[in-house]
Each structure stands twice: as C-alpha cells, then as structure tokens.
Symmetry: C2
Subunit: 400 residues, 2 copies
C-alpha cells in the first residue's frame, strides 16, 4: 500500500531552502501512484510532535512555482532538539502522527543539528519496526556539513555576500578620509561564507579577512587597521561572526543545541577600535540579508537543489534510510559533480571548517579555495517582480 511523504524544514533558513522543498513536491507529483500524500510538517519536527501536518497537494501551482524565489522556511522551521532517550514520551507523539497519516517517508532538510534529528528519527523507526524511511537533504549557508562537497544554500549565500560586499566596498572607498568598516558575515565556527569575498578583485574587496579557523590577535588587528587607515584613508575588514576575542557575551542567548546565538562581533570590535584608536569606525552586519537574498541566488545552487531533492525522493522510495544526499565533486574546471547517499551517522553533529590548505592568511585565501568556490556562484535565476517588488510564496497550509 502506498504511503505518504512528509517534508521537514529545520534550522536557519537559506535563500534556497524552499527550492529543495519544490524539488521534492515536483518529483512526488510525477509519481502520484506510488505516494498516498505529499505533506509538510509545520515548524520542523514540532509539526510531527503536535500533529500539525499540511497537505501540499492542495497548494496552488503558482504558489509552488514561487517557492523558487521565496526566502525563509515556507513551512516554518525550528531549532528544537530531540531528547536522547528514545523512551521519552515525545517520541510516542511522533509515532502517533506518523501512523495516523500513514507516513512512510520523512525528508529532513537541514544542517548538522537537523541531521541529528534525522539520525534519531531513523533509529526510532528502526527500533519500533516502523516501515518509515528517513532521508536528509543538506541545507546551510554555513557550509559546515561533513562528507558533502558543499551544502545547498551556501553557494547562493556566498554569491549574495560577494556582491553585497563588492557594492559596500565601492561605496565605502569614495571619501578621501573615510572610515574603518568592519563587516560581519555569518557561518558560526566555519569561515566559508566570510572567505567567499576572496573572489573579489583587489580594488573592490576588504583589506583583511578574519576567519574563525585562524587565531585572532586583537593587538595585531588594531595595528593592521590603523596602518591601513593611515595609508589609504579607509580600511575594510570582513570578519566571521565566530571569531574569538575578549568581549562581553554575558547577555548572549543559547539555543537548544547549546550553541551561543552569534551576531554582534562587528559591533563589539568596532567599539574596541573606536576606543583604542579613536578613528571613525562603522560596523556592518550583513545579518539576515545574506541568507534571505533570493535575488542573487546562484543558478548552480538552484540546479543542484533540484537534483538533490530528486535523488532523495527516488532513494526513499527504493527503501533507503538513515542517509543524507551528498554532492561529490569530480572536477573544478569543467565543474562536474555526482550525487550520492551517505550514512547520516558520519554527518550528524559533525562540523566541517575550512581546511588549512585553502587559507592564505589574514588578507587572502589560496588558489585552491578560489577553484572550489568559483564554479558554485555561476548563473542567475529569473526573479518575478510585481510593481517592482519581489513576489514570494505564502502557503495556504491546509491541515490534514
């Protein structure tokens, strides 16, 4: 008997999170005879716990098409962490929802924390002898998932960061006596996104790039920016939100995965620069824009999202479980990849930072990094505007 699929969006959104959802919906619609329902879980795993499941088949075709340019998780997302103990009553609630709606396939679209959810659910199903396949689809702008060459959403975020920073640098350098600009870029403990500005030409890029992978020496940093400012009349620094230096984090919040909520590094650093150097300094946090910028989405990222979703769907129907779809690079130029399923156990809760050989120092990355990143940001997607404003999908969310 055919079973239903349920799709889960989890963790921080990306500009392409809904493209992965689109890919699974499209693929499922092509195989209607093998599927009894195409469902979405509201706010990630919370929807399975609370039985808030919607019928994606009832959404209008136009809305589904607009998912391709809609940032933010259209189904809602969560940072909820499942308990370790499989006997926790909460798991019974999940099983109840799964059985009630005859769910046979669960797709979890997320980063390394979400792959923890993916792993726990697949173990649960195995132990309870439930015939439910659980497949992960990679998604994070941090690009810190293990095994896969890169993560869906990262190329688009990188492309957004590169273009925004180029425009900011072009603007920031037009005064004779300008300012010190500290641009904060996301990525948690991995510097992938910050490092992406290295693709910019010398005259339109930050003077320094500080990654969490490198030791951050505050005194050296102050010396550098002072020297550059005195020489050029301005200084632009790109820093990763995860760089470590002494600052007041007493009011920082911690999420369910015990991760400190980042953001604010550039503000803290700008204050230190102002105080210690007495030079005009401005902090620019790219904030949500870098992960919500559909307009600058990469076509390569878009195409790969669709391919990953296709493989996820096909594999689940073939009986695969406890796996995540990975992108395996075959060559940089011409750019070639393969898609493969890999064990979720190798991926969940592992954090992949930039390897040593890709980092050139505090002003640049190596050629190896550039060869890695360049093919990922190619091509634009066609954006639909109405009266000058980007259109986004709003799901009707018919609960079942």
């Amino acid at each position: 008997m055919a079973k239903a699929l349920v799709y889960i969006q989890s963790g921080g959104p990306t500009a392409l999170i809904n493209t992965s959802l689109y890919g699974v919906i499209k693929e499922a619609k092509k195989h209607k005879d093998q599927i009894s329902g195409i469902y979405g879980s509201l706010n990630g795993i919370e929807g399975l716990i609370d039985d808030r499941i919607i019928d994606l088949n009832k959404e209008k075709d136009d809305t589904i098409e607009l998912l391709l340019q809609t940032p933010g998780a259209a189904l809602g997302t969560t940072r909820y962490k499942l308990p370790k103990d499989i006997r926790d009553p909460l798991y019974q609630k999940i099983i109840s929802t799964v059985q009630k709606h005859n769910i046979g396939y669960i797709f979890i679209n997320g980063g390394n924390d979400s792959m923890d959810t993916c792993q726990k659910l697949s173990i649960l199903c195995k132990k309870q002898n439930l015939d439910v396949k659980v497949i992960g689809i990679p998604k994070t702008i941090d690009n810190d998932l293990a095994v896969t060459d890169h993560c869906i959403g990262f190329p688009s975020a990188a492309k957004s960061v590169i273009n925004l920073v180029k425009q900011i640098c072009t603007d920031a350098r037009c005064y004779k006596k300008g300012k010190i600009f500290i641009i904060e870029i996301m990525g948690r403990n991995a510097g992938w996104l910050t490092a992406s500005v290295d693709l910019l030409p010398k005259n339109a890029r930050p003077d320094y790039i500080h990654l969490p992978e490198n030791y951050f020496d505050l005194d050296e940093f102050l010396k550098d920016v002072k020297e550059t400012y005195q020489k050029k009349g301005h200084c632009i620094v790109a820093i990763s939100e995860g760089i470590q230096f002494e600052r007041d984090t007493s009011t920082a919040r911690v999420d369910a995965f015990n991760h400190v909520q980042l953001g604010g590094a550039s503000d803290a650093l700008a204050k230190i620069v102002e105080t210690r150097l007495n030079l005009p300094t401005r902090s620019i946090e790219l904030s949500l824009i870098q992960r919500a910028d559909s307009i600058l989405a990469s076509k390569v990222d878009h195409d790969e999202a669709i391919e990953c979703s296709k493989l996820a769907f096909e594999s689940a129907l073939k009986g695969e479980t406890a796996k995540m779809v990975c992108i395996i690079r075959k060559s940089d130029n011409p750019y070639k990849v393969e898609y493969k399923l890999m064990d979720i156990a190798e991926i969940a809760n592992v954090e992949k930072t930039i390897p040593f050989e890709m980092i050139g120092g505090k002003t640049e990355m190596t050629e190896e990094f550039r060869n890695y990143l360049k093919p990922l940001i190619q091509g634009n997607i066609n954006i639909k505007y109405k009266d000058g404003i980007i259109e986004v999908a709003t799901l009707e969310k018919h609960l079942i």
Copy 2:
C-alpha cells in the same frame, strides 16, 4: 570660445549617483563642438580647491557604460563645507583652477548640503565676474530636497529597502517563537525611505513603522512590541535612523555641516528592549547596502537621472546658472513628470520631510503616500555580471 565642463559628485553616494554623471558625459559628447573639455573633479569641491581635475574623455567607453551599475561616487566625494566669507583664500584656489582649465560649466550633483556649495560657487562666479555657469543635479536617498517632487537615487534606494525588508520579514517570521527585529533605515531627519516599506503587503512587512516626523514614545513602543511578540511570536519594527529617544550619543561624531553622524539607533533600541522586556531582540541596520544596491535600481529612477542630466547640460550651455534641475510631477496614474530649472536659493540648506497628510500613524502611511511612491520603483535595469559577480566601473582618472 568653447569652455570646458567640470562635474562634481558631493555628499553621500547613491546607487544612481554615477548614472547622473553618465548622463552629462553622454550629452556632452554629443555636443563636442560647444565644449572644450569634459572634466571631473576628484572628491567633490576638494578637487577644484586642490586642482585635482581629470579628463573624462580619456576613459574607455566600456567603463563609461559600467557607470550605470556602479554604486559609490566614481569621482570620489566629500562632505567639505565651503567657508561663508567669500574673501577666504580658499575661493582664490577654486578660481585659479577654474581659470587654469578654462572651465565654463560646473555641475554639482548632491543633496541639500551640496546645493549650499552650488549656491556659494554661483555667487562667487557672479561677484568675480567669471563667465561660469553653475547647475545643481539632485541626488540623495533621503529624498529631503525642497521644490523637486523627489530626488534622483531615492526611488532606487526605496526599491532596495522594500525588497530587502520583504525578504527579511519572510525569513524572520518562520520560527514559532522568533525574535523582535528592529530594522534601521537611513534618511536623516526625513522618514521617506523608512516609510517606503508601506508598499509591502500585510504579511510581509514590519508590524510598526517609526518615522522622525512622528513623536517617538518609548514606553508606548515597548508596550507595542511586547504585545505583538506575545500574540504572534515575533515582532518586526522599521525605524528611521533619525528617530529621537534618550540614548547615549556621547561618542557620536559630527560632520562639517554640523550634522551628527547617525546610525546605531536600532542597536541602542534593541538593547533597551532586551533589558526592559527580556525578550530576544535583534537589530538589523541596512547600512550602506540600501544606498549601494545597483542590482535593485529602479528603471524610472534611471530614466529620470538621464533626463535631468540632459536638461542640466542644455541649460548650462544656454547660460542658465544658480539653478537646480527639479522633477515636477504632473500626475500619479499614469505617472507623468516634467523637468524644470528652479532657483538654487530656494533649495540649498532646506530640508523637506514627509507632509502630515501622507502619514497614517505608527503602522502605516496613507493612500496619498502610496500613490506618490508606487510609480517611482517600477522596472529593473539590466545588470552585467562576470562569473556571478556584478561588474563596476573603475575610472582611470587621467589628471589634466
């Protein structure tokens, strides 16, 4: 005998500041016989003082074309304020540069502070019996110039703000328990740019809009965001950088026009919210992005920039001086405008804020505002990318 023109970019850049420059260069090239040179002054009026004048005719055609998508002042800009006393020796330096290069036409592209420069230069030329025509071309994302219906650059900045805020709202609302977001938008003492988010539909816009034109009541603000957060699980507020509330501005810098350097209002407000309400709060400053976003430039703005530059050029050659090109609106729908020269004395140092009848309250603007803004943000310009990255013009800057 034919005389040369010199072009001056002044004040804070916009995404279209170089489109106005492009317009004058193109027009001048069509009338080569009437012009002995097409020059640019480096870093605004500073170039005329220090004799740093470049020959724009020597720039490559490709570079000139790229000006149409280049943010930041390609000639460099300044916030330099000319002295009040016309006998100041500095004016002698300007006269010397003007005479040395046989300059007969000065174009000043800027906001109300720059129109002060425009006015002073035209008075100087008149008093010294110099045959030099001085014409202003409006430019400011703040949209606060008097007489003209709107300012070149504002429509593009508004379009950028509207699209960025829509994407931010779409992302920010996808957690069940989210945050309070305070988005800071530029505009100095005028709320035009902040108010532009009012064109967004109810489900993808901020819950509150706070403009400098309205009295800001901090206690009421805290009550509002608390209530909205409790009801919806998130709250998004758009504030203008110029709203007034009690905060520490002891470290704020002051520019040559005695204007306090703004920015930081959302940070200060977020800290107050965190402290007083103990709710997760995040400040998002759109910062330089909103004024450097060529990708989201408005086609209407682009076309009007070219028209204004054309009229400025023609008028100067006809002998007009001490005037600024203004856009006079004839109707909203269909959108029709006329271009006219108006006395610079009516414009310099005057600040135009949003009229009372366009403001609806703390959550919306009136229909009159929407009719005003809507036609301005229509249409996109074609952006040239190379390998996924926007191309920008870098002038060779041949000094003469």
